[in-house]
Symmetry: C2
Subunit: 426 residues, 2 copies
């Protein structure tokens, strides 16, 4: 397997570092718009994992908004797989560039949505991934695979959903992704500061777009942002966090392959963060449309959302000043052997551990884990397919086994949890 990894931001960097400990591939080209960033990743691998492993990594420059550049770089290195680790706004060009190069494709976020023009908080407009699913036949007939939404959420959450449907339930009512954390970032003086652990650009996109829900018989529909608040009790000491509906790929992926009455995604944003997002929206600072702003060099055009992202600490850099854990998981309700059942399948990532082991903060590290596990399953032929497919299109058992098995036994040493819940009385 020869991988072209596009994007050496937080997640791309972590993918390379996790992959560096594995031997399923012969080459990984780490490409970024900023070549220094790609070189930093390769240098860090040499330092942590050793020169032998780092020899398989090459740093390169790329403009991910240029499909031809993606094709050219993939061809130059004979890439068999293009791993997309840039912002979702670049999905169309990386996706098309990989196809033109004859490479398989993986991503962790799908092509962006556009709200319904007149009824945004009830009806879907352009849906997440719609652009990519439209190319399914083309990919399938070429015998090529685009494995989309293969991060942690979407990604591991979809694997959990498939596992629940196959192994734990006879009938499924709800497949509900539930994500929460107890992360705290402090400045040098020990004061808590506002520093989101994931790209604020993507977080705004997710949280202010109308949340999408799927129901059997009704299909996909939307609600106003921050709908259906619920306090979810996360495991491993994280505790209760307020979760709200958020637009997310799982809701678009799972109904295509799995049988459930309802599919939802709720994000444990917490009250403070919800307040921040609402204020950004009120002030128009979530907008991606450039506005004219004065500057020392005369008027310039910038998108307010890009300014918000630039004003905050780089999420990839906050690891050393962050404490706490993040939990990704799937809450499933339904029946087994005629009795109601509810389980929460989850994976917890502890920042202290990811910083020590990989020099990477836990949220981006957890996002990066799934793609490497998937790539290894694809390299081994354990997972195989053609077309535009989600993680739930593949058998979940091998993924969860490889992920959980100790490193000493050839796995990734990342156990996952199953918490049996008290089902609501029906």
């Amino acid at each position: 397997m020869r991988i072209l990894l596009i994007g050496a931001g937080g997640v791309g960097d972590a993918i390379a570092k996790i992959a560096a400990r594995r031997d399923f591939f012969e080459l990984c080209v780490v490409a970024d718009f900023d070549p220094a960033r790609a070189e930093r990743t390769v240098a860090a691998i040499a330092e942590r994992t050793g020169v032998e492993s780092a020899r398989r990594f090459i740093a390169a420059q790329i403009d991910a908004s240029d499909a031809d550049a993606v094709t050219a770089l993939a061809r130059e290195h004979g890439a068999t797989h293009v791993m997309n680790a840039v912002e979702p706004s670049f999905v169309p060009t990386v996706f098309a560039g990989a196809f033109a190069a004859g490479a398989d494709y993986l991503d962790m976020a799908m092509s962006l949505s556009a709200p319904h023009p007149t009824d945004p908080y009830a009806q879907t407009g352009v849906m997440l991934g719609e652009q990519q699913f439209a190319a399914h036949d083309e990919w399938e007939s070429s015998g090529r695979l685009a494995l989309v939404g293969m991060g942690v959420e979407p990604g591991l959450s979809d694997v959990f959903a498939r596992y629940a449907c196959d192994e734990l339930f006879d009938t499924v009512d709800e497949l509900g992704t539930r994500d929460g954390a107890n992360l705290v970032v402090r400045d040098e003086s020990g004061n808590e500061i506002f520093a989101p652990s994931f790209s604020i650009w993507t977080t705004i996109e997710e949280c202010l777009n109308p949340p999408v829900i799927w129901e059997s018989g009704r299909g996909w529909f939307t609600t106003p942002p921050f709908s259906e608040p619920e306090v979810f009790d996360f495991p491993d000491g994280i505790g209760e966090v307020e979760c709200v509906n958020v637009e997310h790929e799982e809701v678009l992926l799972m109904p295509r392959w799995l049988d459930a009455q309802r599919v939802t995604f709720k994000y444990g944003l917490g009250a403070e963060f919800i307040g921040v997002l609402k204020t950004l929206h009120t002030l128009g600072l979530d907008s991606t449309a450039p506005i004219r702003v004065r500057s020392a060099d005369g008027p310039v055009s910038v998108a307010p959302r890009d300014v918000v992202a630039a004003a905050l600490p780089d999420p990839a850099g906050i690891g050393p000043i962050m404490t706490g854990k993040t939990c990704a998981g799937m809450y499933v309700t339904g029946t087994k052997d005629g009795a109601p059942r509810a389980v929460y399948l989850y994976h917890v990532s502890d920042n202290e551990w990811t910083m020590r082991e990989y020099g990477t903060q836990c949220v981006v590290w957890q996002t990066a884990l799934g793609p490497v596990v998937a790539l290894e399953l694809l390299a081994a032929g354990t997972w195989a397919g053609a077309g535009v497919l989600g993680p739930e299109a593949f058998a979940a058992g091998p993924f969860l086994d490889l992920m959980a098995r100790p490193e000493a036994d050839g796995g990734f040493g990342q156990p996952w949890g199953l918490r049996e819940e008290t089902p609501a009385t029906t």
Copy 2:
């Protein structure tokens, strides 16, 4: 009198329009960085007040950050008075430019403060206007006047304070400016929108800087932002508004000329607006230090605060979609004839009236009123002085009389109110 008015934003535009109805001056050069803005003001005067009055107005271009340009333009037109109506960040250059040109000077906001480097929420650093007061001797020995802080707040509030000290009290405990409004802005669909009625740039500066308070025997000191919240009941149907301490020029001006135990400024921001300001601060979006931001034209440097200002509706343009009133006033406590007394002296500006009469929204109109009254008093020689002086250095009676007298009798037709309050039991 020959006036060089620098700045044709909301307040500058309103100053020109109010002056257009008066005959105390022979020339008013309206200068702006954007010459089209200055021309728009002059054209609006021709339309509303008539060609005869408009003949006294000339539009010009100016860079207010360039003191030499201010001097040159003042000299070119033989300006006797430079009226500064640009943002307070340009005070130093306009102030210096006017002095070099041999003109008198007026402004409505003073040179900016800088927080105490180690103890910002208890001790003052560089104080508002400090830079200007340092030039007092120079102005005085040249026999020239810089009348600083001569808008509505500071400005009319200081006139009220002088009036209270001279006429209404024997001893004064507190001189407390209290500003509040019930303004609402709605979009085309009638939904309330977030649209501050005054420059958000200045509002952030005022509200996030450590509030300054003056106490007899202690002098000036600061507190954390939004300190000492108090619900104040504003007159004329505005009602109760939550007010908090805010850094403002009155606190720096009044103790220099008036005798009181305590001088404060509280702004009726309301809970929503306080929340917005806190969030902007949390996210670093209040910062005036340029940051690098990506753009379609490559990376650019912009100050986050400039982006926030650019993303919001222009305060000068929201008049037609705004309703409500704004109240500027001075709450004074003390004794008269041995008995405790408390009064609130105030002026209310109604948006419906200012829009109809001047095509200008009420907050900027109210700010613009004071400077024109003062200029007229200076032109008549009723007010005269040398040095860097605040409005409270001059007799208040003539100002309040001229302001309140009906237009038919040569006044500005703007009555003010005196509300006798119940003094707190001592």
